[in-house]
C-alpha cells in the first residue's frame, strides 16, 4: 500500500512540476502576475509530494518490505538500521529520488529566501527548476521506478554492497547531490536572465550566495568521497581519476571558475555573458555526470547497473536541457553593456586568468575521461586513460593557479601596478623560499614536487598574512582593539582568505604525502615486529570477531615510537555473510602530522599474515584543506550584503541558513 502511495505521489509531483515549469514562464513573458504567483506554491506542493515519496521508500527499507524489488536488491534484515536508510540511495532508482529530494530542498530554499528578487525573475527561476524536476520525475516513472513490486516476495534481501556499509554512505551522496543539484539554481538564474534579457549587476549579486553554497556542498561531497575511499579500500589511495570521480570534479572546476567570474560580474558588471555561459556549463557537467554514471558508456567502479533504455532517456534529456540552454545562449546572450572598464593588469584580469586556467583544467579532465569513448566510436582502437595522464596534465595547470592565488587578492580592482605588488609581496616570497629550504633540511631529501608544494602553500599563506596585516593595521588617532578591527572586515573577504588558506593546506598535504609516504609489506606472525619511519609495529595477536552481519579476523597491532606507546590498532579482514564477499577494514591512527595506516592482506602458511603498513605524513591536511575551503565559502555566502533587501522590507535577519540551505 505504502509503495503504491509513493508512486502516486511521484505522479502527482510530476503534474505539479509541469505546472510549475510552464505557467510561471508564460506568466513572466506575458506579465501575468497570477500565473507568476503559481511558481512558489507549485514548488511547495512538488516538494511535499517528493518528500512523501522518499519517506515511503525509506519506510519500505526500515520495515524490511522485500515485496518492493528495489528493497530486495539492496537490503537485508541483518543490515543495521542506519545502512537500511542509507540503502535508499544505494542503487540507481533510489539515488534518483535522492536527487529529486535535494532539488526540492533547493527549490524550497529559493522560494523562501527570494523576497528581494523581482517576481518575474523568481517565476522564471522556479519554472526552470520545475522543468528539471519534471524531467527527472518522468525518467523515474518511465524507466526507473523504485516502487516496483516483486512476486513472489523473497524471504530476505540481497544485502547492501559491503563496501557501502559505512558512515561514508550516509553522508557522501547527500552532500554530493546537494552540490550537483545546487548548480541548477545558478543554471536557472542564467536561463532566467537570458529569457528576461536582464543582466544587470543585481542579477549577479542575487546569484552569488546560491552558487557559493552549492559549491560548498560539492566541495564537501567530493572531500567525503575521497576520505571514504581512503579508509575503506585498504591501500590508502584517495583519488583515482575514475570516470565517476571526474564526473564530480568537472562541475567543481567549472563551479570554482564560476564563483570567481561572478566576483568580476558582481563588482564591476563585466563579463556577464561569460558568467552566464559558465553557469550553464557547470550544471550541464552535473547532468553529464548523471549520464556517465548510469548509462554504461564508461566503465567505472562507481557506475550503477546499466540499461541502454535509461542511457537513451538521459541523453535525450541532456540534449533538450543543455542543447536548449546553449541555443538560448547563442541567441540571447546579448551585446549587453560591457560593464566597467579595467586595465590589462588588474584584479579583474587576474580573475579571468584564473577562469581560463580552471576551464582549461576542466576541459582537460573531460578530454581524458571521454577520449577512450571518442576513439572507440571512431573505430580507432581502444585505449585507457588513467592517473598517469591526468597527473601529468592536471598538476602543471594548477601550478599557475597556486602562484596567482598569492597575487590576485592583493591586486587592486580596475588597475593594479605590478611593481607595487612585487614590493608588497617581497616578504611573502622570501618566507616561502626559506620555508622550502627548511623543509628540505628537516626531511633530509626533497623532490621538485614537494619543493613546489611547500613553496606555493607558504607563499599563499604569507600573502594572505601580508594582506591581513595591512588591513588590520591601526589607523587614526584613537586606535581600536585588534578584535574590533577584525570584526569590521567583511565576511566575503574573510571567507575568501579562509578558503585560500584551505587551498594552501590542501596543496601542502598532497605534496607531502606523495613525496614522503613510506610503505612496507611484511609477513607477520604473532610477536613479530617491524620498523617503519621510526615507528615500531608489533603484532600482538589475532582473534575472531563477530559483527552484526559479518565475521572477521582481527589483528591487534601495537605501535611505539622511541619506546613510548603511540597506538593500538585493529585492522580486520571481514567476510560479509549474506553476499559472502571479503573486505579489508584498515586501521588508521590519525594525527595532524601523519596517519599510520595498517591493513591486513592475505594469510600465508604458518599462521602468518601479510600486513601492509603505511606512514603517510600530513595526509589529513588534504581533507582539512577541503573543509577550510568549504567553510570559507560558507562564510562568504553568509554576508549580510546578500541578505540586504530593497529599501522597504525589514525582514528578520536571515542567518547562515542561507549558506547551508536546506541541509542534508
Amino acid at each position: 500500500m505504502i509503495p503504491e502511495l509513493g508512486q502516486l505521489a511521484l505522479l502527482l509531483a510530476l503534474a505539479a512540476a509541469l505546472i510549475q515549469g510552464t505557467l510561471p514562464l508564460v506568466g513572466a513573458a506575458r506579465n501575468r502576475a497570477d500565473w507568476m504567483a503559481l511558481a512558489r506554491p507549485a514548488a511547495q506542493v512538488q516538494c511535499v509530494l517528493v518528500a512523501f515519496a522518499f519517506a515511503c521508500l525509506a519506510s519500505a527499507f526500515v520495515r524490511n518490505d522485500f515485496s518492493v524489488l528495489y528493497v530486495a536488491e539492496h537490503s537485508n534484515t541483518s543490515l543495521p538500521l542506519a545502512y537500511r536508510i542509507a540503502g535508499v540511495w544505494g542503487g540507481h532508482e533510489g539515488s534518483l529520488l535522492l536527487w529529486l529530494l535535494m532539488l526540492c530542498g533547493w527549490m524550497l530554499a529559493l522560494a523562501r529566501f527570494s523576497r528581494s528578487i523581482p517576481a518575474p525573475v523568481v517565476a522564471r527561476i522556479l519554472a526552470v527548476m520545475g522543468l528539471i524536476g519534471a524531467g527527472f520525475l518522468l525518467f523515474m516513472l518511465v524507466t526507473s521506478n523504485p516502487f516496483e513490486r516483486i512476486v513472489p516476495v523473497p524471504p530476505n534481501g540481497n544485502d547492501l554492497n559491503p563496501l557501502l556499509q559505512d558512515p561514508g554512505m550516509v553522508v557522501h551522496p547527500p552532500m554530493l547531490y546537494m552540490g550537483y543539484v545546487g548548480f541548477s539554481v545558478a543554471f536557472a538564474f542564467a536561463i532566467a536572465a537570458l529569457l528576461g534579457g536582464d543582466l544587470s549587476a543585481q542579477w549577479a549579486r542575487w546569484m552569488r550566495p546560491w552558487t557559493t553554497a552549492a559549491w560548498c556542498f560539492l566541495t564537501l561531497g567530493i572531500m567525503l568521497g575521497s576520505l571514504w575511499a581512503y579508509y575503506v579500500l585498504g591501500w590508502g589511495g584517495w583519488w583515482f581519476w575514475d570516470p565517476v570521480e571526474n564526473a564530480s570534479f568537472m562541475p567543481w572546476l567549472a563551479g570554482t571558475a564560476l564563483i570567481h567570474s561572478l566576483a568580476v560580474t558582481d563588482k564591476r558588471g563585466a563579463f556577464k555573458s561569460w558568467t552566464v555561459l559558465l553557469a550553464i556549463v557547470a550544471f550541464s557537467l552535473s547532468l553529464l555526470g548523471t549520464f556517465i554514471v548510469r548509462s554504461g558508456v564508461l566503465s567505472s567502479v562507481h557506475a550503477f547497473a546499466t540499461d541502454p533504455k535509461r542511457g537513451v532517456f538521459i541523453l535525450s534529456f541532456l540534449v533538450i536541457v543543455i542543447g536548449g540552454s546553449l541555443l538560448l545562449y547563442a541567441w540571447r546572450a546579448p551585446k549587453v553593456g560591457l560593464g566597467a572598464r579595467f586595465e590589462m593588469v588588474s584584479r579583474e584580469s587576474m580573475l579571468l586568468v584564473n577562469n581560463v586556467l580552471f576551464v582549461v583544467a576542466m576541459l582537460s579532465v573531460l578530454l581524458g575521461t571521454l577520449y577512450p569513448l571518442l576513439l572507440d566510436a571512431l573505430d580507432l582502437g581502444k585505449i585507457s586513460v588513467g592517473p598517469p595522464y591526468f597527473d601529468t596534465v592536471f598538476l602543471p595547470l594548477m601550478a599557475p593557479v597556486l602562484f596567482l592565488l598569492g597575487i590576485g587578492p592583493l591586486a587592486r580592482w580596475k588597475q593594479a601596478e605590478l611593481p607595487a605588488l612585487a614590493k608588497r609581496l617581497r616578504w611573502a616570497a622570501g618566507v616561502a623560499v626559506l620555508a622550502t629550504l627548511a623543509a628540505a633540511l628537516v626531511a633530509g631529501r626533497i623532490t621538485l614536487g614537494a619543493a613546489f608544494g611547500v613553496l606555493m602553500s607558504v607563499w599563499i599563506v604569507a600573502s594572505i598574512a601580508t594582506d591581513l596585516a595591512h588591513r588590520l593595521r591601526p589607523i587614526g588617532p584613537a586606535p581600536v582593539s585588534l578584535w574590533t578591527r577584525i570584526q569590521t572586515l567583511p565576511r566575503p573577504l574573510l571567507g575568501m582568505m579562509l578558503a585560500h588558506v584551505g587551498v594552501a593546506v590542501f596543496a601542502f598535504g598532497v605534496s607531502m604525502v606523495r613525496t614522503y609516504e613510506v610503505e612496507r609489506d611484511v609477513k607477520m606472525q604473532t610477536g613479530d615486529t617491524t620498523e617503519v619511519a621510526g615507528y615500531v609495529f608489533t603484532l600482538r595477536g589475532l582473534r575472531n570477531v563477530k559483527g552484526p552481519n559479518y565475521d572477521a579476523v582481527q589483528a591487534v597491532v601495537d605501535v611505539r615510537r622511541n619506546g613510548t606507546p603511540v597506538a593500538l590498532m585493529h585492522p580486520e579482514k571481514r567476510t560479509y555473510r549474506v553476499q559472502g564477499t571479503a573486505l579489508t577494514d584498515a586501521a588508521i591512527d590519525r594525527d595532524i602530522a601523519r596517519d599510520l595506516y595498517v591493513s591486513l592482506g592475505e594469510p600465508v602458511e604458518g599462521g602468518a599474515w601479510i600486513v601492509r603498513i603505511y606512514v603517510k605524513p600530513f595526509v589529513d591536511w588534504i581533507w582539512g584543506g577541503c573543509l577550510l575551503m568549504a567553510l570559507g565559502g560558507a562564510l562568504a555566502a553568509s554576508d549580510r550584503r546578500y541578505r540586504a533587501k530593497q529599501a522597504s522590507e525589514a525582514t528578520s535577519p536571515i542567518t547562515a541558513t542561507l549558506a547551508t540551505g536546506a541541509s542534508a
Binding site: G339, M344, L357, V385, G386, Y389, L397, K414, L493, D521
Partner: protein, 149 residues
C-alpha cells in the same frame, strides 16, 4: 671482564629472542618494488577499474608473476610493457602511448591553455581600445568591500 661481556651479550640475545623482525612480504623487495611500479600503470583486464598492482584477480596475480620472471631475467620496463600490449593491446596501459591517434589527447590541454590565454589577451586588449562611451558607469559598492584593495 671478558666473562661479563659474554654474559651481557647472551642477555642481549635473549632479550631480542622474543621480538622477531618480520620478514618482508616478498622474497626480493627491490624486484617487487619494480614490479609494482610498472604494474601501477597497467590496467587489470578482469576488474578493469583497478591497476594491475592493486588487483587480486587471478589474471593479475599471474601477470605480476610473469613480470617478476621477466625482470629477474633482465628485461627492462619497456620490454615488460611491450609484452603486455602485444597480448592485450593499448587498453592495458593507463598511460596512453603517444601515437597519431592520441596527439589530440596529449597536446590538447596545452593547446587549450595557450589558445585560452591568447583569446583572453586579445579580448581584453580589444576591450581596452574602446572609448569610454561603451562602458557602463562605475558601480560604487556602498558596502564594506568597495573598490579598495
Amino acid at each position: 671482564m671478558r666473562r661479563l661481556l659474554v654474559a651481557l651479550w647472551i642477555c642481549l640475545l635473549a632479550a631480542h629472542a622474543g621480538a622477531n623482525e618480520a620478514a618482508p612480504a616478498s622474497a626480493d623487495p627491490a624486484l617487487e618494488a619494480r614490479v609494482m611500479r610498472i604494474a601501477a600503470e597497467l590496467r587489470c583486464l578482469v576488474c578493469q577499474n583497478q591497476t594491475l598492482a592493486d588487483s587480486h584477480a587471478g589474471l593479475a596475480l599471474d601477470l605480476r608473476e610473469q613480470m617478476r620472471v621477466m625482470l629477474r631475467e633482465g628485461a627492462d620496463d619497456d620490454q615488460v610493457r611491450r609484452f603486455m600490449t602485444d597480448r592485450y593491446g593499448d587498453f592495458v596501459l593507463y598511460r596512453p602511448p603517444l601515437k597519431a591517434t592520441t596527439l589530440a589527447l596529449w597536446f590538447g590541454p596545452l593547446a587549450l591553455l595557450v589558445g585560452g590565454l591568447a583569446v583572453l589577451f586579445v579580448v581584453l586588449r580589444r576591450r581596452n581600445r574602446l572609448g569610454t562611451e561603451h562602458f557602463e558607469p562605475e558601480e560604487i559598492d556602498t558596502t564594506n568591500e568597495g573598490l579598495t584593495t
